[in-house]
């Protein structure tokens, strides 16, 4: 595959460079044309807005409210600013220029201008960062009692352009990832798949695995014949060696025992390093993984499309519930989704060992499509909530069956890499889904985005139906429901328990509390829009996609896994504290990036640690129940995340919420690392 990777990387680099250059030059050109045309439009708008606000002030004055006594002008100004972001400041003054009501930043130049009070209530002046439009405030037919000044941001044109560029950048990133997915998809079928399988056979041979021969496909007949000839030669030599050795064994009385024994030991060593056989034809596990990738990706993207606007959509459908605040109710669909996933996973885990995985994937994808159709046509908040529960069930099925399938294809030796592959698909989907969903929703509306999601999920179902071979791997008696006894057995394993409660749960708590709840709200609170929140959150998945595979290779050594998980926790805690020390959008962007790094460092090693820590339990219970317990507990952290975030935020505000969760993570990092450092040597000795 390294040839493929080099090829892909090279192509992508050229593509990115070309696109970025084109983007940069065209936007620079656009900026020059944009501003001169936009400014007069903004002025016109300021005039219209000024007259309408002046008439409102006029009404109040006609009813006997003096200009200075008007109440709630600041709220009206704030509403205007919120709705029309090109306006930076609104000020009402009396005739002498004394400020009576204002909203926005009064720059020194503006204050000086107002104090001079030379305005006659018409025209527009440029004052450092504003274009100022002034309108008289008066009762009908009376002399002005004061003036309303509306300052339009000079930088608005640049802002609009920057927003557009960021959107284009998002689309660029997403399309790159989709291009990669298409390459994977192509490499999972047809000629590319056979080519990949052959490469895999060759790679296997260079590692010393001569057990598999290349696929003798007609397109690659000469090439694969050559490869197979090499493999056959090695295997033939090995066979000869075995024959010679057995001859020697039979004649050992004449030749002496010691040398024969040495030869047998030599053969054993050889077998440890190399695998012989040459009877299995290369099936191309990588190709199968590629086939699995497309439907998983489509399904997950479909689900992620709605993520950026689910709270907004819920608020639209919201009907008051007695005794519960709107914020909490609007968060319910997210919580319900997470909770269903958490609770269904152990059950689905046992199904995945009993029922065919393909069938489980198929059911999940169809269920997903149905749930999106349901959401698209939901009448009330409650049926929407119900459909989100169905969507959660579909997600759980796909996750469990997909993960089991991937792990099976990867084999026990490549568990970490298999997990990383799987996490990679989820991350890429969460880069593409929410950002594209947000842009789509702006264009076609929330409900139509759900229809798009339904179509994607249906396509995923079709791909599973036609492309994924049936797996008849049914372990009789192995599949059974998760029992409380399993929990007891696993939690009684103290190291596993520490891993769950000091690492798995806290990692999910900070992730969901920040990326789903606190940061979106914080970004809005800082005066930015939801698109900005979407972009910032996208950074997380972006980091994950590149980070997870890097760490996966490095953390193949079990001793390094503890280090990875501990470092990940510590980094998450530091990330969590960043916005406390350094408020603002850059800090939360850094937090999200750092959270991405932290989770990439820990997520795959942590999953692999389950296997390390629970060897005995896996042997006894099967890996389904063990991973089921792990996932259930981990996902309960997902459900706790938003609740904890909401509780802290409503009581203590942003700063304390960030500080509290960040400190929790650092404490967990310390506990986790200390426990594992203290118990590791003893454990190793016991194992030996």
């Amino acid at each position: 595959m390294s040839y493929f990777r080099r090829l892909t990387l090279g192509l992508l680099t050229v593509l990115v460079l070309a696109l970025v250059t084109a983007l940069a030059s065209s936007s620079w050109f656009m900026l020059g044309m944009f501003e001169p045309r936009l400014a007069p439009e903004i002025e016109k708008k300021a005039q219209i807005l000024g007259r309408s606000l002046a008439s409102l002030f006029g009404k109040a004055m006609e009813h006997g409210v003096a200009l200075a006594n008007v109440v709630g002008a600041e709220e009206v100004f704030a509403g205007v600013k919120q709705e029309h972001r090109e306006f930076g400041v609104l000020v009402a003054t009396d005739r002498d220029g004394t400020v009576l009501h204002s909203h926005g930043v009064l720059t020194p130049a503006l204050s000086a201008y107002l104090r001079e009070a030379r305005f006659d209530g018409t025209g527009t002046v440029a004052l450092d960062r504003y274009y100022l439009t002034s309108v008289p405030l008066a009762r009908a037919g009376a002399a002005p009692a004061g003036y309303l000044h509306i300052g339009s941001n000079k930088t608005y044109a640049q802002q609009v352009l920057r927003e557009t560029l960021l959107d284009v950048l998002v689309v660029l990133v997403v399309s790159l990832f989709i291009a990669i997915e298409v390459i994977y998809f192509l490499s999972g079928s047809g000629f590319m798949a056979r080519f990949a399988a052959l490469l895999e056979t060759m790679n296997g041979a260079t590692r010393g695995d001569f057990s598999r021969r290349g696929d003798p496909s007609p397109e690659l007949a000469r090439f694969s014949a050559a490869v197979n000839a090499c493999i056959d030669r090695v295997n033939a030599a090995y066979q000869e060696l075995l024959v010679a050795l057995s001859d020697a064994w039979r004649k050992r009385a004449q030749r002496g025992r010691v040398r024969v024994r040495a030869a047998v030991i030599g053969i054993r060593r050889l077998r440890e390093r190399y695998q012989f056989g040459g009877t299995v034809e290369g099936t191309g596990e990588a190709g199968k993984l590629g086939m699995l990738r497309a439907p998983l990706f489509l399904f997950l993207v479909a689900d992620d499309l709605a993520r950026s606007f689910i709270p907004v959509f819920s608020a639209e459908l919201y009907t008051p519930l007695p005794g519960v605040s709107e914020k909490v109710v609007v968060g319910l669909p997210i919580m319900a989704f997470m909770l269903v996933i958490a609770l269904l996973q152990p059950i689905a885990g046992t199904w995945s060992e009993r029922v065919s995985r393909r069938r489980l994937l198929l059911v999940g994808a169809v269920l997903g499509a149905v749930s999106h159709i349901g959401c698209a046509s939901a009448f009330t908040f409650y049926d929407f909530l119900g459909w989100r529960v169905v969507a959660g069930a579909a997600w759980a099925l796909i996750f469990v069956a997909g993960q089991a399938y991937v792990l099976e294809l990867a084999g026990p030796r490549n568990r970490v890499r298999g997990l990383a592959f799987f996490v990679g698909i989820i991350s890429v989907a969460s880069i593409c889904g929410p950002s594209m969903g947000g842009i789509l929703a702006d264009g076609i509306g929330f409900r139509r985005v759900f229809w798009v999601a339904a179509a994607l999920a249906a396509l995923a179902a079709w791909l599973i139906w036609t492309r994924i071979p049936a797996d008849h791997r049914v372990k009789a008696g192995a599949g059974r429901h998760l029992r409380l006894a399993d929990f007891a057995a696993l939690v009684a394993n103290p190291r596993f328990a520490i891993m769950l409660f000091a690492a798995a749960i806290p990692a999910k708590i900070i992730l969901i509390a920040y990326c789903f709840y606190l940061i979106p709200l914080y970004v809005i609170d800082q005066g930015a829009n939801t698109a900005m929140a979407g972009r910032i959150i996208m950074l997380y998945s972006l980091v994950m996609v590149f980070g997870v595979p890097l760490v996966a290779a490095w953390s193949k050594v079990p001793q390094r896994r503890v280090l990875c998980v501990g470092a990940g926790l510590l980094l998450s805690g530091v990330a969590g504290l960043l916005p406390v020390a350094w408020p603002g959008l850059w800090a939360v962007a850094a937090t999200v990036v750092l959270l991405g790094v932290a989770q990439s460092v820990s997520i795959a090693p942590q999953g692999a640690m389950v296997g390390d820590l629970c060897q005995a339990e896996i042997a006894r219970l099967g890996d389904g129940p063990v991973y089921g317990v792990y996932r259930l507990v981990e996902r309960l952290g997902n459900a706790i995340g938003p609740v904890l975030g909401a509780a802290l935020l409503t009581r203590y505000g942003y700063e304390t919420s960030f500080a509290g969760i960040g400190a929790l993570l650092i404490a967990c990092a310390v506990v986790f690392t200390l426990v594992f450092l203290a118990t590791a040597p003893r454990h190793a000795k016991a194992a030996a």
Partner: protein, 330 residues
């Protein structure tokens, strides 16, 4: 209200023709019971039916605020067998129809459809179990905006932490209203300060000590005095409003009749004529063959926020600027 409006449009299109046919039919009788004489509601009701070209014979009775007269009316309804009974307010409607879970066919009207109007809280007063369908031979119209909407309107004018309410503890509509205020106080965290009117020896409400009670509400920290749908309060509104003005306590009314009284600062109210017209629309549907139990119990969807500037100026509480856009300033 949406159904009301679309019905108007629809009906106008094709009802005109059959009117002449219907003229030959038997003219239906509507038995109307009022509580305190004819109001704008009856004018809206009868005006609507007349406008729609529906000929009706009216039998009009007034209870004169005496619940004791209601059994006589029930007996008369059983004798006359009108096509429809119209009842005004909670007390009259309960007296004629009974609560939904304790209907006594001997004392209550069951075989003639009833259309009620101006019932503040039809569910709270146990007239119907739910507003979507009454499941009994009765339907009607409420005139109140949702209590949460009323509180939102008060907050939009001036936010508050303590809300005062003065009510007649003997009236079911008042009890229902106060119960709802209490639950909203818990969920949206404000404090409700309650005072009830004094009662005389027979347990009837009396006007004694109104000023004192209003002063106590103010002294207790109430920032607003909420004037709910309370018949006794309506009869005393002049004194209550004057006392509140004296104590510099802003007042907010839930009903048009109270908001119309001089001295009341503001209110979120429905126009009584519109309430009557909407009731007329329900009556029309029943006269045309719809079953009362199938018709929802509804309130209007549009309310007016009224503000009396004279009081606002006197209290130094001008409405916020945005309110001049949508309030009916008097």
């Amino acid at each position: 209200m949406r159904t009301f409006a679309s019905f108007l449009a629809l009906a106008a299109a094709f009802v005109a023709a059959p009117t002449s046919v219907r003229a030959a039919e038997k003219v239906p009788t509507i038995y109307m019971i009022t509580w305190r004489g004819m109001t704008d509601v009856e004018r809206g009701f009868q005006g609507y039916l007349a406008e729609r070209g529906i000929k009706v014979d009216y039998v009009v009775r007034d209870a004169g605020q005496e619940p004791a007269r209601l059994p006589g009316f029930v007996a008369e309804i059983k004798r006359l067998k009108p096509d429809l009974v119209y009842t005004w307010g909670t007390t009259v409607t309960l007296g004629v129809a009974g609560p939904w879970d304790r209907v006594d066919p001997a004392r209550h009207v069951t075989d003639v459809p009833i259309v009620f109007t101006l019932v503040a809280a039809p569910v709270g007063a146990r007239l119907v179990p739910a507003t979507n369908a009454s499941r009994r031979n009765l339907t009607g119209v409420s005139h109140l905006a949702d209590t949460a909407a009323q509180l939102a309107a008060i907050r939009a004018y001036r936010p508050f932490r303590k809300l005062g309410v003065l009510y007649n503890a003997a009236e079911q509509n008042s009890q229902a209203g106060v119960r709802e205020l209490r639950s909203l106080a818990r969920s949206s965290s404000f404090e409700l300060i309650e005072k009830t009117f004094a009662t005389d020896g027979q347990g009837k409400p009396s006007a004694t000590g109104i000023e004192e009670r209003v002063r106590e509400l103010k002294a207790g920290g109430a920032e607003w005095l909420y004037l709910g749908p309370d018949t006794f309060l309506f009869t005393q509104i002049g004194r209550v409003a004057a006392a509140a003005r004296e104590a510099r306590l802003p007042t907010f009314a839930a009903t048009q009749a109270v908001a119309d009284a001089p001295g009341v600062l503001a209110g979120l109210v429905s126009n009584y004529v519109s309430v009557g017209q909407f009731t007329g629309y329900k009556a029309e549907r029943i006269l045309r063959g719809a079953r009362a139990q199938d018709l929802p119990v509804e309130t209007l969807s549009r309310f007016s926020l009224v503000v009396r500037m004279e009081v606002a100026r006197e209290l130094g509480l001008p409405p916020p600027l945005a309110m001049f856009n949508y309030a009916e300033i008097r």
